[in-house]
Amino acid sequence: MARTTELTDLAERESLRSRLKIPLMLAPAVGIVVLLFGGGILVGLGQSLGYFPAIGLNEFTFEYYGSVLTDSNFLRSLWLTFRIAATATVLSSVLAVGFALVLRQKFAGSRLATFLFQIPLPVPHLVAASGIILLVTQSGLTARLAYALGIIDVPGDFPAMVFDEAGIAIILTFLWKEVPFVGLVVLAVLQSVGPQYEEQARTLGANGRQRFFNVLLPLIMPGIMSTSIIIFAFTFANYEIPLLLGTRFPSTLPVVAYRLYQDPDLALRPEAMAISIVLAIVALLLLIAYRRLARYAVR
């Protein structure tokens, strides 16, 4: 009897140890993330709520959120941010699917084409932005080419794409960077699926359009969904591209927040933090809504 109890004890201790093993092994990494990331968020949240002892603010208040949310400029910036991110996400997904459909075919130079398609991937966003500036400003390459070809009378006639309110250059930069990203994911799915489902659909009487919408699209939809979520989150919160290529006013929310944050007047800091927190919450809500919607649509 005593021996049985001993054995049970031993087994219990053993199972406790194996249950604790994984959390313990993860602890150092998780700890660092929680401290650095969570700590930063906590400080930011505190400041946005008016707790900023360094400049003598010690009382919690929603005042800053109130002033941010009622500011018409905030809404204008939010709309701009959303519009740019949504346009970049939708366009890059659509273009990427198109490219992937072409690149999956075997044609003369298809390997070279796939290689060229991937080139933007390792290029930093800042470099991409510089390239777009050189390409599409009113004194840029495209404008000069259009002028040389006599399409426009003076380079100044070239439509403003940089520092414009539509954010065309910003969207172009995002597209240049993100289309290959989505495209490669879609291409990988298409290649693993192979032509077999389409062949089956063909013999069952499905034409090209029907095969794409009924067979291929549902198969690649999960890939598009997950990459487009990443892209939306990234473009929605991106700071450097709209700063470089966007108008001074209105600016996207990350730019506004960063300007306030950098202001020598520390009293503006809580407002900057409030904008950042709102930005994060809006992004989160949009992503949740999108996931729900997409899952429903796939079904």
Binding site: A201, R202, T203, G205, P218
Partner: protein, 359 residues
């Protein structure tokens, strides 16, 4: 239903001639099997009939009209593949109804026909399952239902049972056969399994190296193989060389009388063949005709019969005898080669697959 004709059909992939000058007429409502080892061009032929690949030369005709210019989706030649290829994003009902949806059939009619077809393949009440929730046999039956529901002109089956286990294969064969009969559908299927071809098909077309070797009803491949290779593919490698004059073939082990039905090539060098199950052991001193002496090399008891490997002259023969026949190894025995089962085959054992040769 539709009659299918293949006329001088050839397909070349680069230097490789996959199918060579294939001619075959398939009657409406007939079930024909393309049989052959892998790489013999049978699947290529099937894909040319569907239009998934274009022939290099020759023609495919449905009811006398060429369909080569008609795209796959408008040919009405529906294929069931070796893999079930059920669309993973759809449930069973959506899969079966796929072809009807593409054709714009209304929803009520689609639902009715899908239910009807699922009953026919003996899978009622599974409409809302996803493909991955079904067993292998169920998946292949759904694939079959999906093909049949559109009432195809021609049903094409590309080794549809190859991925199933032995028992399931047998029930599926019976199911396919009975449905094909019931619907009177013209069907062509591809298999490497001679047993399957024989069980399912009205006629078999045996292919080697892109060339049809022999076409006929299943039993002709057993009783009257055209060549040594055909005989071997149907598990008969009992050959004996001899010289023929009239109805008698003189062999190193004695004269063998052959059926006068075979008046084919007159006299000269020939090869005789008798199927393992038609060779009969006889007692010494028996008055049976057409007997040959043989030396037993091995004896394997198989339960229902005994498998004897014996040397007749210089050739090694397989003989399938009654289970009671139990000679010792090395024993000299006498086999009767019944006249009506002696068949003269053409020797093509040296014919090489000359894939690179241009036609």
């Amino acid at each position: 239903m539709t009659a299918v004709a293949l006329s001088h059909l050839s397909k070349r992939f680069g230097n490789h001639l996959a199918v060579r000058d294939l001619n075959l007429e398939i009657e409406s409502g007939e079930m024909v099997a393309f049989l052959g080892p892998s790489g013999c061009g049978k699947t290529t032929t099937l894909r040319m009939i569907t239009g998934l690949i274009q022939p290099t030369s020759g023609d495919v005709l449905f009811d006398g009209e060429s369909v080569v210019g008609i795209p796959t989706e408008r040919r009405g030649a529906v294929m069931v593949f070796q893999k079930h290829l059920l669309f993973p994003t759809m449930n069973v009902a959506q899969n079966v109804g796929f072809g009807l949806k593409m054709a714009g059939v209304d929803k009520a009619e689609t639902a009715r026909r899908v239910t009807e077809m699922l009953e026919l393949v003996e899978l009622p009440d599974l409409e809302s399952r996803k493909a991955h929730e079904l067993s292998g046999g169920q998946q292949q039956r759904v694939a079959l239902a999906r093909a049949l529901v559109v009432r195809p002109q021609v049903l094409l089956l590309d080794e549809p049972l190859a991925n199933l286990d032995a028992n399931l294969r047998i029930t599926m064969r019976q199911l396919i056969r009975s449905i094909q009969h019931e619907m009177g559908i013209t069907a062509i299927f591809v298999t490497h399994d001679q047993e399957e071809a024989v069980m399912l098909a009205d006629r078999v077309a045996l292919m080697f190296d892109g060339v049809v070797q022999q076409v006929g009803e299943p039993d002709t491949f057993y009783r009257r193989p055209s060549t040594t290779r055909v005989a071997q593919f149907f598990r008969n490698s009992n050959f004996l060389h001899g010289v023929r004059s009239g109805n008698v073939v003189s062999t190193p082990v004695g004269d063998i009388e052959v059926d006068p039905v075979q008046v084919a090539d007159g006299s000269g060098d020939v090869i005789l063949s008798v199927r393992p199950e038609e060779v009969k052991p006889v007692l010494a001193g028996s008055d049976a005709a057409n007997t040959v002496p043989a030396t037993v090399e091995s004896v394997i008891y198989m339960g229902t019969h005994t498998q004897v490997v014996a040397k007749i002259g210089n050739s090694v023969w397989n003989v399938q005898t009654a289970a009671a026949f139990n000679p010792r190894e090395g024993e000299e025995v006498l086999f009767e080669l019944p006249k009506e089962h002696v068949w003269i085959v053409k020797d093509d054992s040296n014919s090489q697959p000359d894939a690179v040769k241009a036609s």
